[in-house]
């Protein structure tokens, strides 16, 4: 076989849809920057104990240390108890970011499995499952959350579960739709004609093809979850002080906004930045993973 290449494109290595998507994502500088920022935020959150200059809950001489504006010793200033807001923001990142990530994982996991089952089996199973989703959607999520939080002590685990388990319905609908349209594609009929077990068809052939939409939804959802946690904490029903979360830090700064703007400003900006970055990431993923253009021969 050495020597003559009949096909001029023969030296080009095979390009997997994933490789194409990665290359296209890299070309989107805004999305790549957003990914770097998100990566940095998560890194900082993980390393918070090493990076934080002060104990986030330490209260010393309150009258001497409180309401200090941003300075070299306290980059984000101090709050009404004299706690270092930079350290609190670092620890708050842990809470906010991990809640965003974990709640999204739960919502996406449950939604994907649920939607895949409904879409794959179709018929009466699909009808029953999707009517149940309609019922759940009809129930106002926000009040459901309030009710559940009233019932359980709102620690991080409970909050993650509540946020995750009230947010999977949209994903379930999306995935069901994807699976239904994929099922009509020939290769699914083909994989049945070669006698693949049903579970293998779902896991190996249906879900991977629906993965693009899952990823985009997930990226968008993390931002939403972080916002939701902040909202709940701001209202005083999420993460309770003294455990810092960006939401309850904004809430704490609210009263002193005119005299000590920095208390709410920094955690609020971090929140906005994080949510913005996840939205940009989701946009970038959506463009890079667009299945309409992904499977073309020359891209």
């Amino acid at each position: 076989m050495a020597g003559v290449q009949r096909n001029p494109g023969s030296n080009v290595p095979p390009r997997s849809p994933l490789a194409v998507a990665v290359r296209r994502f890299r070309a989107n500088r805004l999305a790549v920057s957003a990914l770097y920022v998100i990566g940095a935020l998560y890194l900082v959150a993980i390393l918070a104990p090493l990076l934080a200059p002060y104990d986030p809950s330490a209260i010393d001489d309150v009258l001497a240390t409180r309401y200090q504006p941003p300075s070299w010793t306290h980059p984000f200033g101090t709050d009404e108890f004299g706690r270092d807001l930079f350290s609190r923001a670092l620890y708050g990142a842990r809470v906010s970011l991990s809640i965003g990530f974990l709640a999204t994982t739960i919502a996406i996991g449950v939604g994907t499995a649920y939607g895949a089952v409904a879409g794959y089996f179709g018929g009466a199973v699909d009808d029953a499952l999707m009517r149940l989703v309609d019922v759940i959607i009809a129930f106002p999520t926000f009040f459901l959350m309030l009710m559940l939080i009233g019932l359980f002590e709102a620690d991080i685990v409970v909050l993650v579960l509540i946020l995750g388990l009230t947010s999977w319905t949209g994903t379930a609908r999306l995935i069901r739709g994807e699976i239904l349209s994929l099922k009509a594609r020939n290769f699914i009929e083909g994989s049945r004609a070669i006698g693949l077990p049903g579970a293998l068809i779902v896991v190996r052939h249906l879900i991977p093809n629906a993965l693009a939409s899952v990823l985009v939804t997930a990226a968008l959802m993390v931002g939403g979850m972080i916002g939701a946690e902040a909202g709940l904490s701001f209202l005083g029903i999420g993460i309770r002080p003294p455990t810092p979360s960006w939401g309850n830090m904004v809430s704490a700064g609210q009263d002193a906004l005119l005299v000590a703007w920095w208390i709410a400003f920094f955690p609020g900006s971090l929140l906005a930045l994080t949510i913005l970055c996840f939205n940009l990431l989701a946009d970038g993923l959506r463009d890079a993973l667009d299945p309409k253009t992904l499977m073309r021969k020359y891209v």
Partner: protein, 321 residues
């Protein structure tokens, strides 16, 4: 007998009525022979083929009859039993080139998957088998092609890969549903050659579903002619081409363009069009288009009557001789 389809009926209960896509169809396929099922688009060929492996899309349903494959009735088999037959003992090739190929996996990986599912090979052996098969179906540089994705291959190569996948578990029967229709003429000839070569080397039977009489003439030993969900004529290939009996078969053969027939030779055709399967004419469904029909044809659909030379014909006007 490898495959014996007996009085098979597959119906679709639609809102507009009952669509009898396959109606009381019987035929047999022996080991290592090629049988062609021919007819116009929409005559029920594909549904007949899918019925054999019991993969009729809903709301279609096999309502009657038996599909005996090596003595096992596939029309009544469990999901698990069917799964073991599909891809293992019966391979299936679809019309769209490479329809069986999933866009997100490599071609080799998917062929390998069949081997892993049905043959219990180790991953290493399955990979080697996949590469060998890709070479067997005439794709150059099989090692490299195995690592490619379906969208990187041409239509002809995709169809070859799909055929490799269909024969990977060495099935005894290959059902090929219009395997060449969507391809260029030159590629069609290559695929026909490939199927014949595979049949010779693997000694499998082929049920070829097509409307292309050229392909049929090259491959089939016996031919089944289908019209509106029923078989109207069966005959050995030579006899059918030499002397078609059923007026529909005569019309079908008369509509083929022949090289060397002279430029003024009329191209035959069948008047009218295929009737709506939901609104079939009474009696013989072909009678409104038939040149020799009379009042007796409007009473009931004629039975498929056996004739000399292992043929059979469903027409009141054609007499056994």
């Amino acid at each position: 007998m490898l495959l014996s389809v007996q009085a098979l009926s597959t119906h679709f209960a639609l809102d507009d009525g009952l669509l009898k896509a396959v109606d009381d169809v019987s035929f047999e396929v022996e080991a290592w022979e090629t049988v062609a099922l021919v007819g116009e688009s929409g005559c029920g060929k594909t549904i007949a083929a899918l019925s054999i492996i019991n993969l009729v899309p809903p709301p279609g349903r096999i309502v009657d009859g038996r599909v005996l494959f090596k003595g096992q009735d596939l029309a009544r088999a469990t999901h698990e039993a069917l799964r073991r037959v599909r891809g293992r003992s019966i391979g299936f090739v679809f019309q769209e080139p490479g329809a069986a190929l999933n866009p997100v996996y490599t071609v080799g990986g998917q062929i390998q998957e069949v081997a892993l599912t049905h043959l219990g090979l180790s991953r290493h052996d399955a990979t080697r088998l996949a590469v060998r098969l890709i070479g067997d179906v005439g794709i150059a540089e099989p090692e490299r092609r195995a690592r490619m994705y379906p969208f990187e291959l041409s239509g002809g190569m995709r169809q070859r890969a799909a055929i490799a996948m269909a024969v990977s578990a060495e099935p005894e029967l290959l059902i090929a549903d219009e395997p060449t229709t969507a391809l260029d003429v030159t590629v069609q000839a290559e695929i026909v050659d490939l199927l014949r070569h595979l049949q010779d080397t693997r000694r499998m039977a082929i049920l070829l579903i097509t409307h292309d009489l050229g392909v049929v003439a090259e491959m089939a030993r016996r031919i089944l002619v289908m019209y509106t969900g029923r078989i109207v004529e069966t005959a050995p290939a030579g006899a059918l081409f030499r002397a078609p009996r059923h007026p529909y078969t005569q019309g079908l053969l008369g509509s083929v363009l022949r090289l060397g027939a002279g430029r003024d030779a009329p191209l035959g055709g069948i008047p009218g069009s295929v009737p709506d399967l939901l609104d079939l004419p009474l009696g013989c469904t072909f009678h409104p288009r038939c040149p020799i029909a009379d009042r007796s044809c409007e009473a009931a659909f004629p039975p498929l009557r056996p004739m000399a030379e292992r043929r059979a014909c469903a027409c009141y006007k054609v007499h056994a001789n």
